[in-house]
């Protein structure tokens, strides 16, 4: 065929026009992109439990307040902390500090919140207890209960709750969270002296608080060791880790994919051009993140490594094309370019399926990876191609012979590989019972939290010290119905009843506060989102997220299966080949399940949606392999020359790309990467090794 250099068309203009624009806009996007450090925004915002949790979390502290929680055994107690709070006032960065229980609102509002959430019968009992006759009777009971054996703890509880409303909320011998709250270790709530606008502000405030606490607590005994919680601490810690994670994952992926490329092709300059093309594609995705989302969440920080791993495919295909011996054919180049674009659109669509999930965290990841893949295909077929045309690389001499040898080996031993495929199916059937009983899916939300970080440890410590409120005590309670049913109580008359029964204002004060809070709640001027809502919402969140994740999984898997089935029919137009694709998919899924079982890995709410992704990736490999085999008329050696190395290297690059998130500090991302890695290994084994063996018309070598 006459030498016809591939016509790169507009690709000649890419370095002059597109690259500078991408670099400039990409740099601006990197500088102005914000980090979304919280967990809740990853979940569907329309869920009532998510909305309640957001409100309830706001009740713990304001967005700029820090909470210092002393580690067990080092809390110096109320008087010492009050003195410490006084010393913190005016320290650099600190406006003031208070000692409290780490919650907004008083214990009275907290008790009122529990009343508001009660089921109707007990809510009515509370109302009855607050009538004049009820108050009189209950105070008489309280007086008589004080006689006899003296229980100092009970005295303290009765002093706060002389009408024993807690006994109506949690009938004895139930828990007494109110009593527990009275003995909770105190914490420090610290306010900044200026508005915290940026992550740098949060980090500076955290450093200032740490320094001040260290310096001012020197004389205390025991010397408190504080863990810092609150929004500034969370934001500062997570944003710092996110920046570190992005850097580590990016360097890891670029280094290892480059190493893999170098190991096979031993070509340095083209490798550098490939890295540049990848960087440009990543910058394009960053621009999309900045323009469309303005911020990037903890799941999406893994997009760059995933993009580099998966998108390496196109660069390798382009390189491999120009590295072949002999003249390049313009027609073949156009076909390859078309195939690369088709593949990028297919893979982008595969990731794009996540855009239809209910989880905003995954939707953002889907958009970034899809945008990046399309950009990668563009730069591979323009920028990279132009450079490789000018300086043709050459593949290592050992590559083709090695590829041929492997293909011949596979061809000669295809019976063994068929038996291997059958064995996998047999193992799955024989061990179906233990395999089906394994927990492939763990819907718990807590495992998604970066619990190793200090702010989360502080929050857990605070929660463990807080009174445990059994959520089932409030089953059936309707806050709105209760609010309408509440009969406002005259606080002055209530206090007068106390005096008549022999209790002065020190005894009626707390009950008056509770009643006042309930009156304001009834009037609509107070929102009682207390610990009951928090506990209830967390329980409900697990149920809601599990329901949504499973529904998404079924819906998206079905859609993806339908799409790939249709794609296979369009591509092959023959039932036998479509069936082979399905067999490859089944084998990949069985291998995936076995690997999850062997590695004791469970999928989370987020990584469950890797399954639809895997369906697309497996079929992507199997489609290419079968099309190549058909084109080569069953000659595996011939097909392998064009595809084996690129597909294998692509698989390796994808595995590296998905492995990088396992080094992040985010458990959600670690699990996502782990699961996708296992899935990619299963896809490569199934598509590259087992599928050719199942192809019935292999040419004998």
């Amino acid at each position: 065929m006459a030498d016809a250099r591939p016509d790169l068309g507009l690709a000649r203009l890419v370095p002059l026009l597109v690259v500078p624009v991408v670099l400039a806009v990409g740099a601006w996007s990197l500088a102005t992109l914000r980090f979304q450090t919280e967990l809740l925004p990853l979940f569907p915002p329309n869920l009532a439990s998510v909305q309640t949790l957001k409100k309830a979390q706001a009740s713990i502290a304001s967005e700029s307040q820090m909470i210092a929680v002393a580690k067990p055994g080092t809390n110096p107690g109320w008087p010492a902390l009050v003195k410490l709070a006084g010393k913190l006032h005016g320290q650099p960065g600190i406006a003031g500090a208070e000692v409290g229980l780490g919650t907004k609102g008083s214990p009275a509002e907290w008790l009122a919140g529990m009343v508001a959430a009660l089921p109707a019968p007990r809510f009515a009992q509370i109302q009855q207890a607050l009538t004049p006759a009820g108050v009189s009777a209950r105070l008489a009971d309280t007086l008589s209960s004080m006689s006899g054996a003296v229980d100092e703890g009970e005295m303290a509880r009765l002093h706060f709750d002389p009408l024993r409303l807690n006994d109506i909320i949690f009938p004895p011998p139930g828990p007494n969270p109110l009593a527990d709250s009275l003995t909770m270790p105190p914490v420090l709530t610290i306010d900044p002296d200026h508005t915290l606008k940026t992550f740098a502000d949060d980090q500076q405030f955290v450093a200032q608080v740490r320094a001040a606490l260290l310096a001012q607590s020197a004389g205390l005994s025991p010397r408190p060791e504080f863990l810092l919680a609150g929004q500034p601490a969370i934001t500062a810690d997570i944003s710092r880790h996110m920046k570190r994670d992005i850097f580590v994952m990016f360097v890891f992926t670029v280094t290892l994919t480059s190493l893999a490329f170098w190991t096979v092709y031993r070509s340095l300059m083209p490798l550098l051009w490939i890295v540049v093309a990848q960087l440009l594609a990543v910058l394009c995705a960053v621009v999309v993140a900045r323009l469309v989302f303005v911020e990037i969440n903890v799941i999406s920080i893994g997009f760059a490594s995933i993009l580099i791993g998966v998108g390496m495919d196109y660069c390798i295909l382009v390189y491999h094309f120009f590295a072949q011996a002999g003249e390049t054919d313009a027609h073949e180049w156009r076909q390859l370019r078309r195939a690369i674009w088709l593949s990028s659109v297919t893979t982008a669509a595969t990731f794009g399926i996540l855009f239809f999930s209910s989880f905003p965290g995954l939707r953002q990841l889907a958009v970034l990876v899809a945008a990046g893949l399309l950009a990668m295909a563009f730069f591979a077929t323009t920028f990279l191609a132009r450079l490789l045309v000018r300086r043709r690389p050459s593949a290592p001499r050992w590559l083709l012979p090695a590829s041929d040898r492997c293909a011949r080996f596979l061809s000669r031993h295809r019976l063994a590989f068929r038996l291997t495929a059958a064995t996998i199916v047999l193992v799955a059937l024989v061990f179906a019972k233990p395999l089906t009983h394994f927990g492939y899916y763990d819907p718990s939300v807590e495992q998604l939290e970066p619990s190793q970080l200090e702010p989360f440890q502080a929050q857990k410590l605070l929660q463990s010290q807080a009174p445990q409120i059994p959520a089932d005590a409030f089953v059936g309670g309707d806050v709105d119905v209760n609010r309408r049913a509440w009969q406002p109580v005259d606080v002055a008359a209530l206090k007068a009843e106390f005096v008549q029964a022999g209790f002065d204002a020190t005894w009626s004060g707390s009950t008056a506060e509770v009643v006042s809070a309930l009156n304001r709640w009834h009037a609509g001027t107070l929102d009682l989102a207390g610990p009951t809502h928090l506990t209830d919402a967390w329980l409900q969140l697990r149920v809601d997220l599990n329901r949504v994740a499973v529904a998404d999984f079924r819906r998206l898997s079905l859609v993806m299966s339908a799409i790939v089935l249709a794609l296979c029919f369009v591509a092959h137009r023959r039932v036998r080949l479509v069936a082979l694709n399905c067999a490859a998919l089944l084998l990949a899924m069985l291998l995936f399940a076995l690997m999850l079982y062997i590695t004791d890995t469970s999928m989370t709410l987020l990584s469950l949606l890797c399954i639809p992704l895997m369906i697309g990736l497996v079929i992507d490999y199997s489609l290419h392999i079968l099309l190549a085999l058909e084109h080569a008329q069953g000659d595996l050696v011939e097909a392998a020359r064009h595809l084996a190395v690129p597909v294998l290297l692509t698989g390796v690059a994808s595995i590296i790309g998905f492995a990088a998130p396992m080094f992040s500090s985010q458990p959600s991302l670690q699990n996502f990467g782990n699961v996708m890695d296992l899935g990619t290994v299963a896809a490569v084994l199934s598509g590259l090794v087992l599928l050719p063996a199942l192809y019935g018309r292999l040419k004998k070598h």
């Binding site: 008589s144 209960s145 004080m146 054996a149 009970e154 209790f503 002065d504």
Partner: protein
Amino acid sequence: MLRRALFCVALALVPAALRAEPAPVLAAEMARDDAGFAQVQQQTRTFRAEVMQTLHLQGLVKPVTSAGTLYYASPDKLLIRFTQPAGEWMLVNGAQALVQKAGRPLERHDLNAQGRAASHAASLLDFFHADPARWHHDFDVTMTRDGDRLFVHLKPWMTPTASAQGVQEIVTTLQLPAYAIVEMAITINAGNSIDYQFAHGERNVSLDPKLFEVPAP
């Protein structure tokens, strides 16, 4: 008229003038009384008395009174079983302190882990056990005397090793010369105190050991 009024006022003031404050006990006498009381208590293997408990709580117009019987068995057992209200009791047995209120689960306190301040009944027991060396270690001890009544004032030292933190003061009234315990007033804090008045006390009576048995959890 004016002279008669003044005479009446003077008459009213005389008893007050004649009524003297209890006189402080000097150090030498204190040591003698320490030893005397300790000897009496250490010779007491068991003790039983009727007890009237009066609870003064800040903010309550009327104090809360209860009646019962106190049982003591040397060296570390004390039980107060109430008859008014019936069914309630407080027990100290070794390092365990238990409180049974009517209609409530039994409250248990580990005095080794929580300290003796976890139960004021433990303070009662400490006094019955009469270890003057320990008193002076844990408390600032002063004594006053009024006729045949000896008043022992115990104020806890505020140190980390003091075991009596949780009470502000304990004032015990002893009837001389037998050093019989007549009354014990425990002040927890300003406005809150518990008084125990003892009557018909009997030493070294036979007591059923099952009285002091700790119920299984």
